[in-house]
Every structure is written in C-alpha cells, then in structure tokens.
C-alpha cells in the first residue's frame, strides 16, 4: 500500500484504531483518510499520545501552587526554587520497548526523559529510576535485569548525569511486562524556560540531531496495546540510543538557549516528527509547512509515511527567530550535528506536508489534539474476598529466621550490584545518594540549596487497595525526604496499569488517581508532570497497579541534614510515629503467599504532615543524627539497615508491656513513622517536640557487632551483624547469578 492510497476501517484496525475512531476520522475529514493521514491519526490518537482513557481523571490532580512555573502539558513541569532558579522534572515510562530489547529499551527511555528536561531549557543534574521485574526465578528475569540496568547505566553515564536512586522490585505480576520508569531533573534560570510552541509567521523550522531511520515506526501504537505471543513477531525495528549524540545535542541546545535565538523546541519522542510538529503548531495556534524531503535520512527510499512516524532517537524540532538561522547552524555544526531547515511557521491553522515541492497532505492540528477521542470508560471494583490476613501465623518461625528471610528478599537486600553501575557522583552535586540517606540529596547547580529526591511505589499495597495504597506511598515518601531535612515542593507520577478496557484495571487506575489527588492535596504538593502507561498486560494478565511517584523536596541548608547510618555507640534508637497491630501489606506475608484483600486502617495524612514537619525541624537543628522512615520490611529491617550503614550494631530493649504485639511491631508495614538516633542527652528535646503529635518510643541503643532484642530479660533475637549482612548482601546476587527455573 502506498502513502496516498485511500484506507478503510480494516487498515485502521491494524494501526490500533477502533472502528468508531475510524468513522470519526472520516467524519472530521469528510472523506476517508489516505495511509499517511491514517498513520498520523493512529499515532496521535493512540492511548500513549492522546491519554484518551485517563484524561478526564487526570484533571482531578492538583496542579497549581504559588511555586509552579510550568504545570502539566509541556515536556516537563517546572518549579521555582528561589534565587531566580527553577527545577524542571518529569518521570516517564519505557516499559514495552524494554521488554522487547532490555538494553536499548531502557537506554532510550533515559534518553527520552533527559530530552524532555533539556527542551525546557534546563540542564539535567540528576536522574532516578524505578524498575519492576518478574519473579526472581522466572526464566527471563535475570536477562532483563542485567540488560535494563546496563542500558540505563550505558546511557546516563555517557550523557554525564548522576543517578541517585534506583527502586527495584521483583514480582510475578511483571513476568510478562516489566516496568522501566525513568526520572530526570534539571535546573533553569526563570528567564530561560523554553516551551514547545510554534509561533511567528515566517519563522523557520529546523530539524536537528540524528538522522531519521526506520526505527520504531508505530512505537506509540505498540505502547498502547497489550502483548501477546503472536504480536512479538511483528515488532518494529528496535530504536538504538546514542548517548554520545544526545550529549552533543544537550550542549548545542543549551548554547542556543543562552543566545536567545529560539521561539520553541520540542523533542521527537513518541510518534516522532508527527507529535512534535502537530503539538507545536497546536500550542502556538499556528500552522506549519514542512518539506519532508529535506529531513536527513539514514536509509535511502524512505517514504513520507515512514519519515513522519519514525521514532529514531536524539532528534529535535526547533522554531528559530527569523534572521538567526546562521547562528543556529554554526552552533550545531560545531557540535557535529545535522541541522536542516525543513519548513516554516504559517498562520492558516494547518500542518502542510510537502514532498519534493508538492503538497502531499494537510491536516489541522486541532483534529489530532483537541478532537482526539476522550473516553469515560466503565470501571468497577472487583468483589472483595474475605481477608485471610488474620489467619496468618508466624509462630513457626523464630524472629531470627524472619529477619534473615527479609534482608535476603531481593527487594530489600543490598542493591549495590545495581547502583554501582550508575555514575552517582558526576556533576559534583551528590551530597547523599540512596544508600547514604533515606532520600538522595543533590545540590542544585549554581545554588547553595539542594533538592531531596525519592522515587518509589508499593504495588502490593496498591494491589490490595489502589486508593489507600497510593496515599501511603506518597506519605512514606514525604517522611523519607523529611528524614534529610527537606520539605516537598512538587511531584511527578507515572501511572502503570493494565488495560483500560478491563473494568477492574480501569477501577484501579481511577482509584489510584483519586488517591493521589487526595494525598497530594493534603500534603499541598502540586503534580507538575507525569505519564500514563496502560495496557501493561500479556495475554490478559495485567500487572499489579503500579503508580510510581517521584517526589522532589527542597533543602535550603543542605549541610543541616541527617544520614541513614548510626553514628556513635550509646546513642538512643527512637521510634516516632504510629503503631499498627496488623500485617496487611507486609513483605513477610507475600513470602508466605498469603494475599490479604484490604488494608486494616486508613492513615491520617494530617498526622503524617505534622510528624514530617517535626522531623525536618529536629534534623535541621541537629538533634537527630540518623533517620529513616519505616516502610517496606518494617521496623526491625529499618534498624538493621541503619546499623549496617554505620558499621555498628543495635540493642533493642522492649518493655514487658509490649509482649502482645511483638511480631507486628517488628515486621508490620501498616504504620507510619521513622527510626531516629539521638544522643542520650537530647532525648528530652525530642520528647518535648513530638508531644501530642506522635508517640516517641525509645527502642534501645546503638551498639556494635550484633543486633539483639530483649523483652524485659527475655532474649528475643541475637544475631551477629556479619551474619545478617551476609544474607543482606546475597539476596540480589542470587537473582543475578541464580539458577534459572524455566
């Protein structure tokens, strides 16, 4: 079939459009589209680009705030951090490509998010990622893990940006759909923020960066469909990332920003030249004239259809101030990059595509953006089964066994094998990375302030209760950044769910968004950017709901912080926060294969806010020496991690009155709070400060060489730190080197 041949609804179906959507296109055009037009519609109306299933719900998220300079809608959100500086950040998914080719899929995911940030005018200064793999013994897991991690490391390290947090977990629900969510943050002066808009009739449009090849044609549609065995065969050419080229592109773009010669800039991400041109024209309420035959090509004989839909990496579309063309050309040539004028801005509200001097086709950007379908899809909660949590007994295990099992769990064990593959220090801003504190702390280039960064999700909680789950995720993260003395300033989210055409998945998505909205409102954190990734399912088996949250906090006095590790023998180990007597979401339960169906309580987010504010105050005045929230793994695991990080031990001495709830005290994940260490003489300050806000429980003292717990005089647990550490160091390595059950 040729580009200008007329299509029918069967063709539309092959490109991922529904019959009704095809009919709508015919209605809009008042005729049947040709293949090129249909391809453009299919890409722009895909779930990935149009947000047709999530759009009405995303509106519920709080987006504004006095510090928000740019909210959702642009390539990244931008937040004021004072001193005429702002940070631009976003998290984005690259799930489907990473499952097909883990190295390149993950690499190009990093490349995409970096471009989203630097198209705003911001120089990226830190990245994070969240990865989800299938069961640790699934036959694909090992290969996918090492491929994804080296892909991220290969790209980010070469580009030259530090990676400070990587949140990794394994669960059978991801056997057929792994998740790769990448986050980047950059810094930009207020007056140098750029937007993806095409304005000013007659201004030239430039194509810069890498050449266009046949890679990833229809990638956006692929990301909007579920996998199945049969579809694996018909996949598009893998997109290969070139971090070297991206680094050159960054430097060249930043030079252009500083010279004020640009009107607008947008990267060619999903749906390539199609989305960038139509979205820029739409934002500028203008038109564009593009000569597709001028686009630099990697392969001969590419058709306009292929050129418009290619997803080759490391390319950008720029609208340049008329008269400044030569300045631009000189900059890009110096950085050894292709730079070609391919068209100009018009005012007739149409994007006109030319091919060797003749108009090939013309479409109105509005048809592709504002007229894109919006669905209010049916959703329905599944029936609730009775909880089995109450039947669960841990009596068969000793506390020692349980602790060792926990620290050896691949999600909770030492993650060095992964994180050492990322350059954590480049840029000279990393004050603390994820193994040194409860949140990463990275100095903002050109400022004395730092951002606190954390990324995470708990799909077990969200699988049990998608609404309460996401609230808890955000609450925990607020506590995490409080532990380094930072207050939240904004967040970005990446909503990974199954098919929106499935009523239960859709219910999970809606509940997740509503839970996030409620929590973000309560903590007064604006949601300034994000991404939605649906259809994460293979042969009708969806993943557990995974709403990734990337939280950004501000620390004005980065030296007044707390780290993860216990400092001095004899310091008091104190718990501040709530207590739970249940187990509903705990890691331990899942090791025992018991899946409870609801969470036992709802967290009072106002109390979380007060608690986190107090922690921030006490960290900044230096009462608190070490701090970590209690999250996945529970209290005992947290104490171990803090002792391990400080090469110390811990002695926990419990009052006899605690004897009834020991197991939940040690292992439950149902409470919110933090473990802190304080010098003995400062306990009074803490007790006074937290009075009426949170329980303050002295749990014991920092010791050396062993972790021990006593109830009154009774020994509950006593283990040398070496032994626990050995298990802690082994967990992830077992996945990396382990036997494969196929």
């Amino acid at each position: 079939m040729r580009d200008l041949d007329i299509t029918n609804s069967d063709h539309a179906l092959q490109m991922g459009l529904k019959k009704t959507e095809f009919e709508r296109i015919v209605q809009l055009l008042q005729r049947a589209p040709n293949k090129l037009e249909l391809g453009i519609f299919a890409a722009m109306w895909s779930e990935h680009c149009s947000y047709k299933s999530s759009r009405i719900h995303l509106k519920k998220l709080p987006k504004s705030g006095s510090t928000v300079l740019v909210g959702p809608g642009e390539n990244a959100g931008v937040i004021d951090v004072g001193d005429n500086l702002a940070v631009a950040f976003k998290v984005e998914s690259h799930n489907h490509p990473s499952f097909i080719e883990p190295f390149q899929g993950a690499a190009t995911g990093v490349g995409g998010i970096l471009r989203d940030v630097f198209t705003m005018g911001a120089r990226p200064f830190a990245t994070m990622n969240l990865l989800r793999f299938g069961a640790k013994n699934h036959f694909k897991t090992r290969h996918l893990l090492s491929g994804v991690v080296s892909g991220i490391s290969g790209y980010g390290n070469c580009f030259g940006v530090c990676n400070v947090v990587s949140d990794v977990a394994f669960d059978p629900s991801y056997n057929g759909n792994i998740l790769v969510n990448a986050f980047a943050i950059g810094v930009v002066p207020h007056d140098k923020i750029f937007l993806g808009t095409a304005e000013g009739v007659g201004n030239p449009v430039f194509y810069v960066g890498a050449k266009t090849g046949k890679d990833g044609i229809h990638g956006a549609t692929m990301a909007s469909d579920e996998f199945s065995e049969s579809k694996e065969a018909a996949r598009p050419t893998v997109q290969v990332g070139d971090p070297f080229k991206e680094k050159l592109l960054l430097e060249a773009c930043l030079e252009c920003f500083s010279k004020n010669i640009l009107i607008g800039i947008q990267d060619m991400g999903a749906a390539g030249l199609t989305s960038s041109s139509f979205e820029m024209a739409d934002r500028g309420q203008s038109g564009l004239l593009l000569h597709l035959d001028r686009v630099p090509l990697r392969e001969k004989n590419m058709t306009p259809y292929e050129i418009m839909l290619s997803e080759s990496q490391e390319r950008m579309l720029l609208v340049v101030k008329k008269g400044e063309e030569q300045v631009l050309i000189d900059i890009f040539s110096r950085w050894d990059l292709d730079v070609v004028e391919i068209g100009s801005v018009t005012d007739d509200g149409m994007v006109r595509l030319f091919w060797h001097g003749e108009e090939y086709t013309a479409l109105s950007p509005e048809m592709l953006t504002k007229e894109a379908p919006i669905y209010d899809r049916f959703y329905e909660a599944p029936e609730r089964a009775a909880s089995s949590a109450a039947d669960f007994h841990l009596d068969n295990f000793s506390y020692e066994d349980l602790l060792l099992k926990l620290v050896r769990h691949p999600d909770l064990s030492n993650q060095n094998w992964i994180t050492e593959q990322y350059d954590r220090h480049i840029g000279l801003g990393t004050l603390q990375h994820q193994h040194q504190a409860d949140a990463a702390l990275v100095q903002i280039p050109g400022s004395s302030k730092a951002v606190a960064l954390q990324i995470g999700c708990d799909s077990r909680l969200c699988g049990i209760d998608p609404r309460e789950g996401v609230k808890r995720i955000l609450a925990r993260m607020v506590l995490q950044i409080a532990c380094v003395g930072a207050r939240p300033i904004g967040l970005s989210d990446c909503l990974n769910y199954g098919s929106p055409e499935d009523a239960v998945c859709m219910w999970q998505l809606v509940s997740g968004i509503e839970g996030l909205a409620e929590a973000a409102d309560s903590f007064q954190i604006p949601v300034v950017s994000g991404n939605v990734s649906l259809y994460n399912q293979t042969d009708h088996k969806p993943i557990d709901p995974t709403p990734t949250i990337a939280l950004v906090g501000l620390q004005e006095k980065p030296m007044q912080t707390a780290t993860l590790f216990f400092k001095n023998e004899g310091d008091l180990i104190v718990y501040v926060g709530s207590f739970a007597h249940q187990f509903s979401g705990a890691e331990l339960l899942f090791e025992g294969q018991v899946k409870p169906r609801y969470l036992s309580n709802t967290w009072d987010l106002n109390r979380v806010t007060s608690l986190s504010q107090l922690i921030v105050e006490q960290v900044r005045i230096g009462t608190i020496l070490a701090a970590a929230h209690v999250g996945k793994g529970g209290l005992l695991y947290t104490i171990f991690k803090m002792a391990h990080a400080g090469k110390k031990g811990a002695h926990v001495q419990l009052d006899i009155s605690m004897s009834e709830h020991l197991t939940s005290l040690f292992f439950s994940e149902d409470a919110f709070g933090a473990v802190i260490s304080v010098p003995r003489e400062k306990l009074g300050i803490i007790e006074k400060a937290f009075l009426n806000i949170a329980a303050v429980h002295v749990l014991g003292t920092v010791s050396s060489q062993e972790l021990s717990c006593q109830l009154g005089r009774k020994n509950l647990l006593q283990l040398p730190m070496d032994i626990i550490s050995h298990h802690y160091d082994s967990g992830l390595c077992e996945v990396v080197n382990g036997r494969i059950d196929s």
Partner: protein, 89 residues
C-alpha cells in the same frame, strides 16, 4: 574435521550503528575519506572440546548463536568452520 568455529554477529541493516558512524567520521578526520559506511559487529571464536564434522560444528554453533551469542531482535549471524584457533581466514 575441526574443532574451531568463527561466529560473526552483525547488526541488522535497518538498525542504527552509532559506533560504525563514529568510525567513519574518525577515519575521515584521519584523511581516509574514501569510506562510505562502516558497521561494527562481534566475532566469537569457539574451540570445541572434540573434533567434529564441519556440518555438525555449524549446526551446533548455530544453536548457540540462536540461544545466546546473537540477539535476534537486532542482530544476524554467520558461521564458518575454520582450521585453527586464531582462525580468521
């Protein structure tokens, strides 16, 4: 009969090869400006424990290439039986 096989793994044609492109660039900067394109791949020299018929060697190496040495999503491979270990013809 031989024990030695050379497996050459190359990127499929449509797949971008940044390394090859950089090589062309670097060669031209060195004055070798008569190169149109370069593609960089991998070569694996396998020494089997026992001597086998060429047909058998090829067959076994092909299986190994399919299973491990070559990433079929983006690479092709070719197999050649060679005389000795260092065995590039």
């Amino acid at each position: 009969m031989s024990r030695f096989v050379q497996v050459v793994v190359t990127l499929k044609n449509a797949v971008l090869d940044p390394q090859g492109d950089a090589t062309v660039h670097a060669l031209s900067a060195l004055g070798f400006d008569n190169i149109e394109s370069a593609r960089v791949g991998k070569v694996i020299h396998l020494a089997f424990k026992n001597e086998l018929e060429p047909g058998q060697l090829k067959e076994q190496a092909a299986l190994m290439a399919q299973k491990l040495l070559c990433n079929s999503v983006m690479e092709n491979f070719q197999i050649q039986v060679v005389e000795d270990k260092a065995g590039v013809p």
